[in-house]
């Protein structure tokens, strides 16, 4: 591809692909994350019905409780995309409101997961109880770590905005963080269905 083919794509980037390298890198990373979560979900599938001693995860699921958690995470995707719409309009105040709302919803999801893990441990299912429990805690724990990292990103963006370092021209930074956040949400959509709802 000739150098002439490089194009400026609206965010001040001049690249051969016509889009920013950061956005391309985030999508490549998310594609690779599909393989990570695919491995963790497959491992849980492999062990979930084993004839093991001790309590199995499926015996302890609290579907109404997890449904509310799932709904909370799903709605955080709405607040995230509203934050992006706000910065694209140049509305810094609403950007900060929606970023904080997203971080709060994410933190609520994590609090729910901590409560779920605590109650499972009280019921006698620890990460060492059997391979099914190990696979369950590893899968949902990895997802929880991803959500926590997302909350750190959101609070960092909020801090940048407060200090006046995040404006309409840099809206792609919020878009890229949003891509990560929405990915964490779609992973949970899969986990909620195939792990919790399909027995």
């Amino acid at each position: 591809m000739s150098a002439d083919a490089a194009v400026d794509h609206g965010h001040g980037h001049v690249t051969n692909t016509g889009m920013s390298n950061e956005k391309l890198a985030m999508w490549t990373f998310l594609g690779s994350e599909c393989l990570l979560f695919g491995a963790l979900i497959s491992t849980y599938f492999l062990y979930r019905h084993g004839d093991y001693e001790g309590v199995l995860p499926k015996d302890l699921y609290d579907i109404p409780y997890t449904s509310v958690s799932s709904f909370v995470l799903l709605m955080s995707s709405l607040t995230m995309v509203l934050a992006l719409a706000a910065i694209q309009r140049g509305d810094g105040r609403r950007l900060r409101v929606w970023l904080l709302a997203t971080a709060f919803l994410g933190a609520s999801f994590i609090a729910g997961q901590v409560y779920e893990f605590t109650s499972f441990i009280r019921e006698g299912m620890t990460i060492k109880t059997n391979p099914a429990a190990s696979a369950f805690y590893t899968l949902t724990g990895f997802h929880g770590v991803h959500v926590t990292l997302g909350i750190v990103m959101l609070l960092s963006l909020w801090n940048l905005s407060i200090r006046g370092k995040l404006n309409k021209e840099r809206s792609e930074v919020v878009e890229i963080a949003g891509l990560y956040w929405h990915f964490v949400d779609v992973v949970w959509i899969v986990i909620f269905t195939v792990i919790y709802l399909i027995p």
């Binding site: 051969n16 889009m19 391309l24 799932s70 509203l82 959509i189 899969v190 269905t193």
Partner: protein, 103 residues
């Protein structure tokens, strides 16, 4: 000429407005409610599981298409993400079949 082609091939478009985002969120909420409702109904294991997978697939596509803007962004990004996703699904289905999980 080549530049014009590139812009068309990899072109980003305007993102949708807040009204569409809210409508998509409402649809996602309804789909989640149907999923949870299905869990408590008895249409037979295969039918229920099939419906749950279709609903989850629908939610996945809605978030990726509208909230992640894959519907509006470059085709290159769509292919990049789809290749990772499809590769993951195929590799792990093959892996689980090898271990006799679906037999």
């Amino acid at each position: 000429m080549e530049t014009e082609h590139l812009v068309e091939e990899h072109g980003e478009h305007e993102h949708p407005g807040e009204g569409l985002y809210i409508r998509i969120a409402l649809i996602l909420a309804v789909l989640t409610a149907i999923e949870v409702g299905l869990y408590y109904t008895d249409f037979g294991e295969k039918i229920t599981n099939g419906m749950l997978l279709v609903l989850a697939g629908g939610k996945f596509v809605l978030v990726a298409a509208y909230f992640m803007h894959l519907k509006f962004d470059s085709r290159l990004l769509r292919r990049l993400f789809a290749s990772g996703f499809v590769l993951a699904v195929l590799v792990y289905i093959a892996y689980l079949m090898t271990l006799g999980i679906f037999v």
